[in-house]
Subunit: 363 residues, 2 copies
């Protein structure tokens, strides 16, 4: 209820009588209802949070039991004819005059229909952006604990699959084994599509695992994450079967040095830009600045990508309780890439790294 | 280019100078670009289709190679700073005065930003719904061939896993093996989350596979589909380990009878409602009408759920080249469910069923 009360204060200050929550992670954050949506047009339910009184979880009969067992502070209401007809009845009954909706997670066509319905009732529909996301950025202790468990399970999966990694296995085969092992070990699902990219394929930061077999001596990027109890993990290791050559070792050490520099820089009060710069300077000094084409990291929580961004543009200060990835990389077209990624919690005086795995980190 | 020309005729009739295509299946349909979007806010590219001249695929550098290798009729343009800054330059250069966008697949917040940008340029942004979807409803021969291959591969997966089905395996374990086998056999991915629901769990039409072990004698619903070369398949079989009891056999036969009645009824000119009714009457006559709580079927193509709907509400006539599922079911709370699902092509004089598998269909 603490989260709901905080949200209600914001609603009050914006003169919103009730908020419609359509974004799936926001829905889970506020209600504990864990259902996922297969797409934005196939919702498994929305929250309606009036400024006072019992909040509602609106869904259809397929999800009734699931919703009731998890969203215990919410009244479950079903919409056999769809959301809008239910809102048409419910909003006037609740005395709503201004209804907020999540403009960043409602289709334009749906928002038009919504405001046609509310308009007829004399209710104003008010587009809002990121209200609940803002609450989610700084994690509570309980959340940090869950994220840590997610990180550790992800490492367990990595280590199990890494132990069986062999020359000749295809990228796709390894990626599938990773995702399978996640599920067997109790993850809800992968937090994003697992990347396994060997040799030259590693030169694209978002490579899709293909039929290329893994070869000895080349760097193999493995970027993987899972969802446990709602919370995401995200880790990248670059590994080598057999003995890496000197160029590979040098690049490993460079990327690791950049990662350590950024980790040492991160604490409350430092901006996303400054954190990024700490890593980027190391790589730039080695003459490879243009080979590090993405930002240093991103926030992680119920969503795999959330605020804050650690990149060249984010001038906002980090705050305690934020959880970020620290993932510098270098990518050489035709040769391959090295990326190393850990997750850390922003604290008052530094960054507490959640990862324990050090495979190929300290060559 | 045939599809593009057809679309351009529609644009002309609506006085739209260019259409922005954000919906991923529409994008693939028009361009052959096969990338997927992990969510509506993480797009791997959008099409900009002017009424004449070369069409564009706008994307970011991560997808440049992929896009170029597939969307051969398109000019690939990158948006290093995001889509809107690129449109700001490109639209005036193309002389666009009225820009159509897909209102049913653009976030409300994005549409607001888009119209702020176009507004400053004196360009009108026009919300459109379902223009390309309408084109996709009737499949061309080439598409029907691809869907047939998808159906047959899906059956191959089913048969392989069915042969190893044993008492004591959990629903989740079986679902994972099915999805794994799909990938091993070359599917792009499952077309939806596989359902394996044994005994009472089968009473919910959208059960999520859990830790319940399969037991002898009870009906086990397996609902599965895959994507091959872009096109979806969708099949449900209900199977029994050991010997089904008389009640199970009777219900199987009833559902199969309903399925055959609907299959016999479907042809061009029959409405979605009439097709649904053909199956529903059979089940209603047996006194179980209220146990068949969902519609008879849905269209399938690049998307797993698309037009037309076969249900109690759709009064529109089916047309040749549409592909639909035919999936009646009965669901008895506490006992379980039986659902049987095939896919068929609507033809001039009937419905050509694409499935060959008859496991437990004709008990």
């Amino acid at each position: 209820m603490e989260k709901l009360n905080a949200l209600r204060k914001t609603l009050k200050s914006r003169k919103i009588d009730a908020l419609l929550v359509t974004q799936p992670e926001n829905r889970r954050y506020l209600s504990r209802y864990s259902a996922t949506d297969s797409s934005i047009s196939e919702s498994s339910g929305v929250l309606l949070i009036p400024r006072s009184g019992i909040p509602f979880l609106l869904t259809d009969s397929r999800f009734e039991l699931h919703a009731g067992s998890e969203a215990k502070d919410f009244e479950i209401m079903l919409y056999p004819k769809g959301l809008l007809p239910l809102l048409q009845k419910l909003l006037p009954r609740l005395g709503v005059r201004r209804l907020g909706f999540e403009s960043h997670y409602m289709l334009h066509a749906t928002a038009r229909k919504l405001s046609a319905v509310t308009g007829k009732l004399g209710i104003e529909s008010v587009p809002l952006v990121g209200l609940v996301e803002k609450m989610r950025v700084r994690k509570q202790q309980e959340e940090i604990g869950k994220i840590e468990k997610s990180v550790l399970l992800n490492e367990e999966v990595f280590q199990e699959v890494f132990a069986t990694l062999r020359e000749g296995q295809t990228e796709r085969e390894v990626a599938m084994r990773i995702e399978n092992t996640m599920l067997v070990k109790g993850a809800e699902r992968p937090s994003f599509a697992t990347i396994v990219a060997g040799g030259p394929n590693g030169a694209a930061p978002h490579a899709v695992p293909g039929s290329r077999p893994l070869m000895r001596g080349e760097p193999i990027i493995i970027d993987m994450g899972l969802i446990l109890d709602g919370y995401c993990s995200d880790m990248t290791r670059t590994v080598v079967l057999g003995t890496p050559d000197q160029k590979t070792v040098d690049l490993f050490r460079l990327v690791r040095k950049a990662q350590l520099a950024a980790t040492a820089r991160i604490k409350a009060g430092v901006t996303g830009k400054e954190a990024d710069r700490a890593a980027r300077e190391v790589i730039t000094e080695a003459g490879l600045g243009d080979k590090f084409g993405h930002g240093l990291g991103h926030g992680v929580g119920l969503a795999i990508h959330e605020a804050p961004s650690l990149n060249r543009r984010n001038g906002k200060k980090l705050q305690t309780g934020m959880i970020v990835t620290i993932e510098p990389g270098v990518y050489l077209p035709g040769w391959g890439g090295i990326r190393l990624e850990n997750m850390g919690v922003v604290e008052e005086n530094g960054c507490r790294v959640l990862n324990r795995d050090t495979t190929f980190l300290d060559l």
